[in-house]
C-alpha cells in the first residue's frame, strides 16, 4: 500500500498539471448561460465520487494503467517538444540574467532535465555562434540589445509554456451502459474518436465486433437519442451535457447506423415497390454505393414528403412539404410550386445534429411517435430552437435521419463503414484463431494518440478523397462484366442490321452475373473463355475483353464484404511511442514509472478534487 501511495503522490502532481487546463477556464462572475460553467470530469454518474467507487477493481487497475501510460507519454511528448523549441526552460547560467518576465518560469518543473548539449542558436555569448552570427552586436556599446533579446526569449519561453499547457488533453471518465444493462467505465481522452472507443470496448467485452456496434447518447430531459458517428470525437459532445444531466452513453447494436451501405436501394430507390427493393441484387447495391459515395460528389437521397412540424416554441403541429438537399432541408411555401428556386430553407446542417425523439405523442401532442429532431448539440433543455419533425411511419423517419446524416457527414460515413467492416473482418479472423477467450483481455489498450481525422466533416458533403484505385474494383468488375457479356452476346448473334428492320440490338446480359463474386474470385479468364474464338468473322473485333477484368483483389478474404478494402491494419499495437505497462493481473498495480525527472508540485487546478477522490478510492481497496 505504501508503494501505491508513493506512486500516487507522484501521479497527483502530474495529473494536476494535466488537468489544469480544464480548471483554468475562467469562470465569469455573472455567468452567461452560454458560458461553460463547470467541466464534468465524469459522465454518466451522479458525481465523481460515485464514478470512482463504481469502478470495478480491474477497471480501476486498468484506469490507473491508462493514467500512468498517458503520463509517461505526455512526458515524452513534452520533452520532445521542448527540445524542439530550441529553448530549454532550464535556468542554467549561460543565459543573460533572467529578466523580470521570467519570474513565472516554472519550466524546470515540467519534466525535461536540463539538456547540457543544447546550444542556444541565437545566443551571442557562445563564441561558436558569434562567428556565424551575421550581426554581432557590440556588447559594450549596446547593452540594451542583449536585454531586448533576453526579454524576447523569456517571453517566448513563457509563451511556449502556455502552449504546452494548452496542448494538454482533456479526459473524461465515462460510464457506458452496455446492452445487457450493466455498465463499464472508461477513461476517454478528447482526441479519441468514437471508433477508438468502440475498439476499446470490443476488447473489454468479447462481443462479435460486427459493424452495427455503436455508441449512442441519450438526452433524458428531452427524451432524445442519437448514434454517434464513428469519426466524431467522443469527449466534445459529452462536454455539452449539463452537470446534473441524466444523459447516458449506450453501447448497442444499431442496425440503422450503416444500413445505407448494406441496402442502399432502400434509401436511394425508396420510391420503388417493396419487392423490387427486397430482390435487389448485390451487384446493383454495390453500384448504388459507388454512384452515390465514390464519385466526385456525395449524392444525398432524393427525399421529399409531407412532414409534421412543431412550430417554434408553440404547441401546435403543422404540415409542410419538405425536401432534402445536400445544402439543407427546405420546404415548399404555401401556394408555390416545388421548383427549387421557390423553396424556403428550413435548416442547414452545419450547426445541428439529428436525433430520434421519443414519446413525442405524449409529451408534445404529436400526431405520431415517429419523430426526428434537429438541434444544436449544446442545447440540453427545452427550447424554441429545437426543431421537431414527425413522420407518418418509422421507415420514413429512418429515411430522413439517414439522408440528413449523409448530407451532414458525407464521405466520412462511408469511410466509417469501411473501417468498421475491416475491424469486423479482423476480429472474426482473430476469434477463429483464438483457443479460449478466457484470458479476459489482458491489457487495456490505452487510447492511441492520433491526430484528428481529416475526414471530420461538418456541413456540406466534404471533398471526397480520391480513393486508392483498388477501391473501385468490385463495382467496376460488375459493371464491366455486365457489358462484356452483353457485347459478347452481341457477337454471338449479330443483329441483322443489313436486313430490313434496321435495328441495333443488344441482347440481355446473361443471368449468371447475379450476385457478388465469391470470396476467392473466379479466375478472370473464365468468363472470357466462354466466347467462341471465331466470333469476329463478320464483325469488327470484339472489345479487348481481358482488359475489362481488373486483376483479382489482393486479398480474397475481403471480397465478400463489398469493395475490397486495403489490407487490414495490424491489430492495434501497443502505443508506438510509449511502452505502456500492461496491467497484467488483478492484484498487481502497475509499476510506477521510472522517473529521473523532478516531480511536479501540484498546480492546484481544478483537477485536485478528482485526484484526491481517485486516491481515496484506491486507498479504500
Amino acid at each position: 500500500m505504501d508503494d501505491i501511495d508513493a506512486m500516487f503522490s507522484d501521479l497527483l502532481g502530474e495529473m494536476d498539471l494535466l488537468t489544469q487546463s480544464l480548471g483554468q477556464e475562467t469562470e465569469p462572475p455573472e455567468p452567461l448561460p452560454s458560458t461553460r460553467q463547470e467541466i464534468n470530469f465524469s459522465v454518466g454518474f451522479t458525481g465523481l465520487n460515485a464514478s470512482l467507487h463504481d469502478l470495478e477493481d480491474n477497471d480501476l487497475d486498468a484506469l490507473m494503467a491508462d493514467l500512468v501510460a498517458d503520463l509517461s507519454e505526455t512526458e515524452k511528448k513534452l520533452e520532445a517538444e521542448i527540445q524542439g523549441l530550441n529553448a530549454p526552460p532550464s535556468s542554467s547560467s549561460d543565459l543573460p540574467p533572467p529578466p523580470k518576465g521570467l519570474g513565472v518560469q516554472p519550466a524546470s518543473s515540467i519534466t525535461s532535465p536540463p539538456s547540457p548539449g543544447n546550444n542556444r542558436s541565437s545566443s551571442v555569448t557562445t563564441p561558436s555562434s558569434s562567428t556565424s552570427s551575421p550581426l554581432p552586436p557590440p556588447q559594450s556599446s549596446k547593452p540594451t540589445m542583449e536585454e531586448i533579446e533576453a526579454q524576447m526569449k523569456a517571453d517566448k519561453i513563457k509563451l511556449a509554456l502556455e502552449k504546452l499547457k494548452e496542448a494538454k488533453v482533456k479526459k473524461l471518465v465515462v460510464k457506458v451502459v452496455m446492452n445487457d444493462g450493466s455498465s463499464k467505465t472508461l477513461m476517454v481522452d478528447e482526441r479519441q474518436t468514437v471508433r477508438e472507443v468502440l475498439d476499446n470496448l470490443f476488447e473489454k467485452t468479447h462481443c462479435d465486433c460486427n459493424v452495427d456496434w455503436s455508441l449512442c447518447e441519450t438526452n433524458h430531459e428531452l427524451q432524445l437519442e442519437r448514434t454517434f458517428e464513428d469519426h466524431e470525437n467522443l469527449v466534445e459532445p459529452l462536454l455539452a451535457w449539463t452537470r446534473d444531466s441524466e444523459n447516458k452513453v449506450l453501447f448497442q447494436e444499431r442496425k440503422d447506423k450503416f444500413e445505407v451501405f448494406k441496402n442502399p436501394q432502400n434509401f436511394y430507390l425508396w420510391k420503388k415497390d417493396k419487392k423490387t427493393l427486397k430482390d435487389m441484387k448485390d451487384k446493383d447495391k454495390e453500384l448504388l454505393v459507388q454512384e452515390n459515395f465514390c464519385g466526385t460528389s456525395i449524392i444525398v437521397p432524393d427525399l421529399e414528403g409531407v412532414l409534421h412540424l412543431k412550430e417554434d416554441g408553440k404547441k401546435s403541429w403543422k404540415q409542410r412539404l419538405f425536401q432534402l438537399r445536400a445544402s439543407g432541408i427546405y420546404y415548399v411555401p404555401k401556394g408555390k410550386t416545388k421548383s427549387s428556386r421557390d423553396l424556403i430553407c428550413f435548416v442547414q446542417f452545419d450547426n445541428v445534429n439529428v436525433y430520434y425523439g421519443k414519446d413525442v405523442k405524449n409529451r408534445y401532442k404529436a400526431p405520431t411517435d415517429f419523430c426526428f429532431v434537429l438541434k444544436h448539440p449544446q442545447i440540453q433543455k427545452e427550447s424554441q430552437y429545437i426543431k421537431y419533425l414527425c413522420c407518418d411511419d418509422a421507415w420514413t423517419m429512418n429515411l430522413w435521419v439517414t439522408g440528413i446524416r449523409i448530407a451532414k457527414y458525407g464521405a466520412s460515413l462511408h469511410e466509417n463503414f469501411k473501417t468498421a467492416e475491416r475491424k469486423a473482418a479482423v476480429s472474426a479472423a482473430v476469434w477463429t484463431n483464438r483457443s479460449t477467450p478466457s484470458s479476459s483481455s489482458p491489457s487495456t489498450p490505452s487510447p492511441t494518440i492520433r491526430a484528428k481525422t481529416a475526414t471530420q466533416a461538418n456541413g456540406h458533403a466534404p471533398k471526397p478523397q480520391p480513393g486508392p484505385p483498388h477501391q473501385f474494383h468490385a463495382a467496376d468488375l460488375n459493371m464491366s462484366s455486365w457489358w462484356k457479356s452483353s457485347i459478347n452476346s452481341l457477337h454471338r448473334s449479330p443483329p441483322s442490321l443489313a436486313s430490313k428492320p434496321p435495328l441495333s440490338n443488344f441482347p440481355p446480359p446473361p443471368l449468371s452475373m447475379d450476385g457478388l463474386p465469391p470470396p476467392p474470385p473466379p479466375p478472370p479468364m473464365d468468363n472470357f473463355s466462354e466466347d467462341p474464338p471465331n466470333i469476329n468473322k463478320s464483325l469488327p473485333p470484339p472489345p479487348p475483353n481481358p482488359e475489362f477484368l481488373p486483376p483479382p483483389p489482393p486479398d480474397p478474404v475481403f471480397v465478400a464484404s463489398g469493395a475490397p478494402p486495403p489490407p487490414p491494419p495490424p491489430p492495434p499495437p501497443a502505443a508506438v511511442s510509449a511502452p505502456r505497462p500492461a496491467a497484467q493481473q488483478k492484484k498487481m498495480p502497475p509499476a510506477p514509472p521510472k522517473r529521473t525527472t523532478p516531480t511536479l508540485q501540484g498546480g492546484g487546478g481544478g483537477g485536485g478534487d478528482f485526484m484526491s477522490e481517485l486516491m481515496s478510492a484506491m486507498r479504500k481497496r
Binding site: 465569469p28 452567461l32 438537399r325 427549387s340 449544446q378 428492320p501 434496321p502
Partner: protein
Amino acid sequence: SMAAWDLSVKVEDLGPDAPPVTISVASDLHVGGVILKLVEKTQMQRNWSDHALWWDQKQRWLLRTAWTLEKYGIHADARLLFMPQHKPLKLGLPSGKTVMLKACFSNPVFQTVMGICRMLNIRHPEELSLLRPVEEKKKKKDKDLTEEIYDLTEVPLSSGTPTTFSRPCLYNGMPAHFADSEQMEGVYKMLSVTQPPPAPEVIAKQYRPASVVDKSHIHGRWLDSSRCLMQQGIQENDRLWLRFKYYSFYDIEPKYDVVRLTQLYEQARWAILLEDIDCTEEEMMLFGALQYHINKVALSEPQMMSSNAALDDLESALQSLEVKMEGDSSSASDLLENMTAPELNDYLKIFRPKRLTLKGYKQYWFKFQDTSISYFKSKEESIGEPIQQINLKGCEVAPDVNVAAQKFLIRLLIPAPEGMNEVYLRCENEQQYAQWMAGCRLASKGKSLADSSFQSEIQSIRSFLAMQKTNSGSSNNSAASDESINTHSLVSPRYHKKYKPKQLTPRILDAYQNVAQLSLTDALMRFLQIWQALPDFGLSYVVVRFKGSRKDEVLGIAPNRLIRIDLGVGDVVKTWRYNNMKQWNVNWDIKQMAIEFEGNVNIAFGCVTADCKIVHEFIGGYIFMSTRSREKSDTLNEELFHKLTGGHEAL
C-alpha cells in the same frame, strides 16, 4: 483496257470562280490515281497531303484511295470536289470565348472532337461534343462589337500527343504548340484561366431556357458523332459550340486537367447563371461566393494554374520536399512566433434582444481572446474580472451592415444548454467591424485569433464592405476588378430583380465565410461538387411521345438513369436505371426507340425535339462512360463507343 472518260473535279484551291478541272480517267483507276492526275493538272506547288475528294451528290468523302472509281460507283455525272479535310471552324468554348481552329471535316465527329481536345489540351474528349449554337439576340449596337477570336489555325495538324491522353508533355506548363509564341501563350491563358464574372447585362442578354421544353430544344442541337461535319452541313468558318455532353467526369486530375477543369467550371457557372439547372437561393449564394473567391484567387495567383501544370514530377517532388523541410526546421520558431496570443481590445456596444429589458445598446470595454469575448465596465477595470465572458465556439454569426447608414452590427446566436442566446455587437466603424467580425467568424469555428486565416478573413470582410460601397451607386456595373465586383455578376438574373447589389453583398459574404480559405483548385472542385449534388444535375431532356400515350412528355437522360417527366405537373413519374436495362432497339424508319428492362418492363417512345439518333447516342454514350476504368484510362476505346452509339452507321 477500259474505256477512258472525262471526269470533272472542282479544285477548291483554284478559287470559287475557277472552272472544274477535267481529267481523263478509266473506271478501274483508283482514287489515289485520280488525285495524282488532278494535282499534276493544276500545276500548283503545295502540300496536298490533307486534301481528299468529296462526292457532293452522295454526301460522302472518297477516303479509300485504293478503291477504284467503279467500286465507288462514280460516273461522269459525279460532282466531285477536291479540298482539304481540315478546315477552319469557329468554336465557342464553355467559357463563352471563341477560338478559330482547323477541325477535321472528314472523320466522324467523335474523332474531330478528339482532335480538337488534343489541340486544346483537354483530356477525356469522349465527354465532350459539338452542337449548333443558339442564335443570340443581336441588338443593333452589338453589331459594331466584333468579338475577339483566338486564332489557332496555324497550329500544325498533328499537334498534341496522339492516343494517350493521360500525361501530355508540357513545356513551360503548356503543350508544346502553345509555347511557340507570346500570342499562343495568350490563347493558352484564355483556355486555362477562369474568366472574370460577366457583367450583369451580359448575363441578361444570353438566351435562358424558361422551361424543360426549352431545355430539350437545346439538346436537339447535338451533332451526330458517327458522321463527319461535311455530312451534317457544317461549312468552313461556321460556328459551333464545344461542350461537355456526358455529365460523367472521369478521373479529374488538377495537375493535368487545367484546361478541362477550367472549362468545366465555366460550363457549370453558366448553367447556374442562366438557370439551365435549378437551385435554391441559399445554393445560389454559395455559388456566387465561390465565383467571387475563384476570381479573386485566380487574379492574385494567375501563375498558379499554369505553374501547377508546369511542374513535372521531379519538380513537384522537389518542391514538396522543400516545403517539408521548411516546415520541419521552422516549426519550433513558428510555434513561438504564433504564440504572441493576439487579442482585440476596444469599446463596443452590446444589446440582447431577447431579454425583456427596454435598455438599448450599452457600451463596455471588450476583450477578444482565444475564442471568447469578455467585457468590462471600462478600460481601467479590464484587469479584473469581466462582467461576462462569452465563448463563441459553435455559435452562429450573421452580419447586419449598412455602410451608407454607418451601421456595423454583428449578430451572434450563441448556443447554451437552454437554447440559443441572441447577442448583438455594434461597432463604430468599418475597421473595427472587420476585425471583430473576423474574430467572431473564426471563433465560431473554434479557431482563435492566432489562426493564420485571421488577416485574410479581415481582408475579405473589408473587400465585401467595399463592394457595398461601390454598388450603392448602382449604374456603373461593367464587369470589374477585384475589389468592386457587382454582386449581380455572380447570380442569375432572377436575383437581379429580387435584390439590389448591396442587399446581395451580405448574403454572399455570409456564404463566403465557408469557402474563403480554399485554394483555387479546391474552390473549383467545390463548385463542381455542389453543382453535381443538385437534384437535377446531369439531366439532358428530350420531348418524347410514349407509345400509347396521347400527350408529349419529357424524357430526362442522366448518367445512370432515364426519367419520365410529366409535362403538366413537372413531376418525375418514373425512373429506369441503366443497370437494369436488358436491351434497346432503334427503329430508324419509324424513329422509335424501344427499351427493355429487367422484370419484363418495356418502354417505347418516339422523339419529338431531337433526332432519335441523339437519344440513342446519349444512352449508349453513358453506358460507354460507365465501362471506363482506371487501368485502361490511357487509351480510349473508340471502337466500343462507336458500337454503342453508332446505330446503323456503326457496322
